[in-house]
Structure formats: C-alpha cells, structure tokens
Amino acid sequence: MKLENSFDVPVAPAEAWRVLIDVERVAPCVPGAALTEVVDANTYKGTIKVKLGPVSLAFDGEVSFTERDDDAFTARLAAAGREGRNRGSANADVDFALAANGDGTKVSIVTDLQLAGPIAQYGRSQGVIASVSAEMIDRFAACLKENILDDKSSDAADAETAAAPAPAEPVAAASGISIMLGALKRSICRFMRRLTGKE
C-alpha cells in the first residue's frame, strides 16, 4: 500500500531537514506512537497504538534510517513492528525528500506500508485500513509541518532553549477516525477528547 503526501514550508531545506531527522522530536507526530528507546543515532525503538472500531492493535518495533543523504536531503526510514498479541506485523518504508521551492521547501513523504498476518487478512476492512493509514500519514505530515514552523519561530526567539518534547503522557490510540468525505466537519474538541479518552 503506497501513500503519498507533500507540503510546503517557508523555511530553507537545511533547516527543515534538521527537524525532520530529529526522530525523538518528530516521533510524537505519528498519532498513537511513542518512542521507548534510542538504540543509536540511526535506530530507535517505539510503540504505536491504533484502534479500528472494536479492534485495538498495538505494535512494538524498530525504526531506523536505512538511507540518509544529508546533502541531497533524502532519507529512507524503515519501520518494522510486530503486533503485541502476535496477530501480525507492519513494515513500512518512509521516503523523505526535501526540495528547494522558491525560498521555502517542498517536503514529500512516500510511505510504502505492508501489513502481514491476521490483521491484513480481513478483506472487508481493507478500505478502512487504507483510509486510516492515509489519515495517520496526513496527521503526521501536518504535525511535522507545525514542528518545522515552531522551530523557525523559536529560532528567531531564542536559539538555546529548543522546544522540550511534549511530556510523556499515556498515548491514546489513533482511533478509526471517521473517513467520511465530510470528516472535517467533526469538531476538533470532540476529537481531542476521544483521543485522550481512557484506553
């Protein structure tokens, strides 16, 4: 399953790149995700919780840069996670590429997600797995954009105190977010309350 996403930021590629490769900072952008261990500069361990209607999935696994070119601003992040109750696994290759766009940067993210095992075998939910995955990547991209922009504003304000990562609070699963075309009409506050509801 291929998912493509891109957005523009009024920031030079090098600065956007600096935020992008800071996995510790960017990880919370993935809905339901939490970083649990930094193995080395290139490899991190973490968990991600997803709720698909009544089905709760929790993956734990590893994320690592398998390719990284700090000059060309391209990188491939390989994620592999096993579902906690041994119901399958998720493997994703996330390709980042930054390109100068005027005095800003175009960030493109191409995700190739492959589920395996029982969680990938319910044909009737294929459509919704695709749309939930797409929704999660959209949210990740939006949050990434926020981070890049925050970084730009905080740079201007005070270079030393980098934004502290959000306090580690229990992560709610990214629920099977409504994929109706009119999804956006849902009020954001109810969404936030849903997300932080008791898991």
Partner: protein
C-alpha cells in the same frame, strides 16, 4: 479459533451494568453475540472483561409512547420481526429485519448490538436514520440522548464513551398508511449488503408526495441520508422518471472500496436500490400502507 481469556460478569440490572462499565478495565458488552463472538473467536477483539447483559430484563421492552416506538437495546431481532406492534407502527423496521443475517442469528441478535457494533453494511442504522430516531445511552455519570445522525463516529465507532451503554431507541412513527420500502443488494441471501436503501414516504390527498425520507447503508462507515433526493421528491407527482432522477443523487455517496467491490459499483447500486425502494414505498403508500 477459540475465544481468548476474559473475566465474565453477569449483571442482573442496569445500575449493576453501569457500575461494571465504570470500574472494569477494557470492558465489552455481550448482548446477542452474533457480531462480537466471531471477532473474539478470530481473536480480533480480545477484551479483558465481558459484561453479559442478557439477564438485564429492563433492556428488552418494546412499547409505544407518544406516537413513537421505544425499543430496548436487548430486544431480539427475531422478536421485533414477529411483533405486531412493530409491523403496524414501524413496518419499515419489520421489512428491513427480513434482510438481517439468518433466522438462527436473528433469534439471538439484538437491535442494540447491531447499532453498537455498527457494521457499515448493517440494516438497522439505516432504518433508524430514515426515522430520525433518537438513541438513549446511559453511564454512571448519567444519561444522554444522541440523534441517529450523530451516531456514527467512524468505522465501527458509535457515539458512545467507553463507560456508556446504549439502553434504548426511540423511533418516531410515521402516520398510519405511510409508504415504506427496504431493498438491499447482497451477493447471497443474508450476506452483508453492498448497498441498501430504506425509504419512508407519505402522499397528500392529491396523490403527490408529501414527505420522503431516504437513508442508505453499505456506502459509508455509517448510514447516509439523501437530503437532495428527499427534496427532489417532496410535492411532486410520483412517477418512474421522478424516482429515476431523484435516486440519481445517491451516486454522490462516498462508497466503500474493498476486495469485493469498488466505490463506483457501490454508488451505482445505491442509485438502483434507492429507485427500487421508492417504488416499493409508493406501491404501499397507494395501497394505504398495506
């Protein structure tokens, strides 16, 4: 395919049920079990606690109050199918029930279970949406009424907080003799609907369409109303051409894409099912709702 371990709780009353919901970790309500048990046998759903509400008698009453049917969440689908009260005051519900699974599953399946499970292809949500029904939820914190229009929050995600249970549904009845039609497309008898239409309509003295309500199932996460279709019908003289053009609006529904069918096909079906349900409803309206 054996169910995973869980703790089993068997409340005898609603208050006891609400206590369990408020205190237990990761609770799941077991009503008819026709949707939950398969997912537990497949180990897709693995709750820590099961609350079996089959002994909570107060949740299975069916009565008429103030021009509406109030149906307990634990009312069995088969009992509703055979109920004279439902046949008289809410014939669309009766008609739709004939398409729900098989007799053996309707004997145990409940209306509340179908609504709380909220399969995108379920028939009950569309019937309730067509009736602008109200769903009653309860938790230790109190009760809450939810319009059917706000019930679906996403794929198999009803508008219920983790500590809430659906207790009853109130379905405003349409006038005596109204037209009703339920037509769905399923590959085999009793299969999941790929698209289904629930229609209610009334005629004025001159035989023109006074009011119409059209809701679809199988084309989105939850049931979908067709306001454009309803508008196109009201005040018009019913005819095949009218129904053809009014039903065409159904092609704007999102549709669901999976290995069995594309969105485009489900949208085409939605149009055809709407047209046929309108025809069924008109015949019945003209025959005085027989």
């Amino acid at each position: 395919m054996k169910p995973p371990p869980f703790s089993y709780h068997r409340p005898e009353s609603l208050p006891q049920t609400l206590d369990f919901l408020a205190t237990l970790d990761d609770p799941k309500i077991l009503a008819g079990g026709q949707s939950l048990m398969p997912m537990m046998n497949f180990r897709y759903v693995m709750p820590a606690n099961i609350i079996d509400i089959n002994r909570v008698a107060e949740l299975s009453t069916v009565e008429e109050t103030g021009g509406a049917l109030r149906i307990g969440a634990m009312a069995r689908q088969r009992d509703l199918e055979l109920s004279d009260l439902v046949q008289r005051r809410c014939p669309l519900l009766h008609e739709a029930l004939l398409n729900v699974g098989h007799v053996q599953t309707r004997n145990r399946g409940t209306i509340g279970g179908s609504l709380s499970h909220l399969d995108p292809a379920a028939e009950m949500p569309a019937v309730l949406h067509a009736h602008d029904a109200t769903l009653h939820a309860a938790s230790k914190r109190g009760t809450r009424d939810i319009a059917m229009a706000d019930w679906s929050q996403g794929f198999m995600t009803p508008n219920l907080e983790p500590d809430e249970i659906l207790t009853a549904i109130t379905i405003p009845c349409w006038p005596e003799g109204h037209g009703y039609g339920f037509v769905e497309f399923a590959r085999r008898h009793g299969d999941f609907a790929m698209a289904g239409a629930a229609v209610l309509l009334t005629l004025d003295a001159g035989g023109k369409i006074d009011r119409a309500s059209v809701a679809l199932t199988g084309v989105d996460n939850g049931p979908v109303r067709l306001p454009e279709t309803e508008a196109a019908l009201s005040g018009q003289t019913p005819s095949p051409d009218l129904f053809e053009s009014a039903a065409a609006h159904a092609s704007s529904v999102p549709g669901i894409e999976d290995v069995h069918a594309t969105k485009e096909y489900r949208r085409k079906l939605a149009v055809v099912m709407t047209k046929r349900a309108l025809g069924q409803a008109l015949d019945r309206a003209q025959a005085g709702g027989a």
